[in-house]
């Protein structure tokens, strides 16, 4: 009896080994924040990547091999991403890595991938300092300075505003990064900054700043910050009688913003990577498939990770193998990849050149205003 069990397990073991050796599979490590403070964003991102992988596999996989995602959760905690990426590199021996969600987590992952010469593509980390880490580090979204330029240009051309106030969240690299480029571009193109105000993440009382803001009567207020503070600022500003339109960036993108700000959010604009209201048929197809799979409307994060996953798969296909060096070279040659967030080309600095969208909030719902090309 015992001998039979021994032989049976040996046979099973060997056959699994054989199957894995002969058939092969393409392994891609995916790391994001599935729990902890950033989980609402992280879950969207991984859902986008999974949907892309499922579509690729149901269409026959990559190079006739199934695409296997090894998904791990950094719990929104610093240090975890580095641990996970080490595991991807040494234990799972992945062909490429997709991640992380935020700039600071990606900063942990990128040097490790670079040292191991395994390509890493982040679909959402916007800080400029990421891709200079090495030639194996790629990004498929636009960067903070792009958001700043788009916001400034929109205020100048679309709102015809010249007198502006900017409010910056000095605790967030994102806010500071967008603001720097915005101020420069706005000033160089005929705009005038009346006042520069600042606050810190976690503040809930902005009356001191808003009282000053109201006194200079700006035509537009730039607010490149994240939605928890933005929603309260919009609300307090309207109650204090500030009537100028607010213009923000992708940090505004959350349903919570309208829940908290209510009708105070109406008439504001923000630049984003993606709008589910975009009439483009590629977008509408993606929205329909995503809704069918997850019963939710995809946000920008889901769309960006969906594109990132498909872009990676496309590069592996073009590389013709799962050799990390070849995938890197194929990624570097990405031109006009057709994604739901627009056509993506990767430039010499391994950053994406791609369009953004401007959306507005009207009666609590998001409406697309225009697509902005780089």
């Amino acid at each position: 009896m015992r001998a039979a069990f021994f032989w049976a397990s040996l046979v099973v073991g060997f056959s699994f080994l054989l199957i894995s050796l002969v058939s092969g599979e393409i392994k891609v490590g995916v790391v994001s924040c599935l729990s902890g403070g950033l989980s609402t964003f992280g879950i969207s991102s991984v859902q986008g990547a999974k949907l892309a992988a499922e579509e690729i596999n149901s269409a026959g996989g990559i190079l006739r091999q199934p695409l296997i995602l090894i998904i791990d959760d950094n719990q929104s905690r610093s240090g975890e991403t580095a641990r996970i990426v080490r595991k991807f590199l040494t234990q799972d021996r992945v062909a490429a890595i997709l991640g992380d969600l935020t700039s600071s987590f990606t900063m942990e992952a990128a040097p490790l991938a670079q040292n191991a010469h395994v390509p890493l593509l982040t679909p959402t980390a916007t800080n400029v300092a990421i891709t200079p880490i090495g030639d194996f580090v790629f990004r498929s979204c636009f960067t903070d300075p792009f958001t700043g330029r788009v916001m400034a240009r929109f205020a100048l051309d679309h709102l015809h505003a010249r007198r502006a106030v900017i409010m910056t969240d000095i605790k967030q690299d994102y806010s500071v990064g967008v603001a720097a480029e915005l101020k420069q571009y706005f000033g160089a193109n005929g705009g005038q900054l009346m006042e520069e105000l600042s606050f810190s993440s976690g503040d809930t009382d902005f009356r001191a700043q808003l009282s000053k803001l109201k006194a200079v009567r700006p035509e537009v207020v730039f607010l490149p910050a994240y939605y928890p503070e933005v929603s309260l600022i919009l609300r307090e500003a309207r109650l204090l009688g500030v009537t100028a339109p607010f213009v923000g960036g992708e940090g505004w993108d959350s349903p919570t913003l309208v829940q908290i700000a209510g009708k105070s959010a109406d008439g504001s604009y923000y630049a984003n990577h993606f709008s589910s209201r975009d009439p483009d048929p590629r977008v509408q197809q993606f929205v329909a498939r995503y809704e069918e799979r997850y019963h939710a409307v995809p946000d920008a994060l889901a769309a960006l990770w969906y594109d990132g996953m498909r872009l990676m798969a496309d590069a592996i296909e073009r590389a013709g193998s799962d050799n990390p060096e070849k995938i890197r070279n194929a990624l570097a040659r990405t031109r006009d990849f057709s994604g739901v967030t627009g056509n993506i080309s990767l430039d010499g600095q391994r950053n994406a050149t791609k369009p953004g969208v401007i959306v507005t909030i009207q009666a609590g719902t998001i409406k697309m205003v225009e697509r902005v090309n780089p």
Partner: protein, 316 residues
Amino acid sequence: MDQVILFVQQLLNGLSLGSIYALIALGYTMVYGVLRFINFAHGDVYMLGAFSGFMIAPTVSRLIPLDKFQEFTPANALLIIIGAGLVMIISMLICAVTGVLIERIAYRPLRDRPRLTVLITAIGVSLLIQNMTQFFFGPQPRAFPQLIPVEAIPGLGDLTVLTTQAAIILSTVLLLIVLHLIVTKTKMGLAMRALSVNPTACSLMGVNNDVVISFTFALGSALAAAAGILVSMDSPSITPMMGNLPGIKAFVAAVLGGIGNIPGAAIGGLIIGVLETLVVGYLRPELRDAIAFAVLIVILLFKPTGILGRVEREKV
């Protein structure tokens, strides 16, 4: 806008912020009075107050449609005040019970241990409450339902005072009067004051110290809950971590006023609130959180007993 009006506006803003700190600071100072220890979980009771309101408001709104009123009118004013008051009182009761439970479970067994042990336990309780709340409600900010219509009070010219700011200041004044009456006119208040002078003598006179301590925790926690509700009415975004900074700043306010001294805590809270608003308005907004701690350092260096505190001699 005229500079004078802007200054008055900032003072008013500071006053409403300071009222919140005052309400929280009272809890610190009362507990310090009877137990000689800083209850670092107090800021989280304030957070629980906001979350209790978040849970109760929809139920009350089914009886009185608080979230539907667009503005105050003579006809609906009384109804709104009753409804909002109901939410506030129920939340205060919930937090009073929570405060008593925290003391009973976490602090009472350690009453005779070194004070440092209880202090560390308080930090543990604080983390426990924060993470439990995060577990049940998630870490992302939640929208607090409307309790009173938010609008600028008319007839003030260039000054903007919101109904919520007025509610904060008026409720604080009301609660301070009630607290004063409890402390000075009731037997329980007398026992509290006696306990803060000498616990041993107090129990020898037949006072049940445990009951008095429980009552103190209930009172302090109820005030913190009121602060939580008032703040959430004014800026309707609540998170499990919202009690951290206000809690610490209110602690500074209590030290500033003289820890253990009840009117001192109220005055300290108002000073910290006004200072903070003026610093943000006239100096640099990034110093907002630094100012409270700068005040703490100055106070500890030059007048450790605070504004109204008495020097306590170590008895040999």
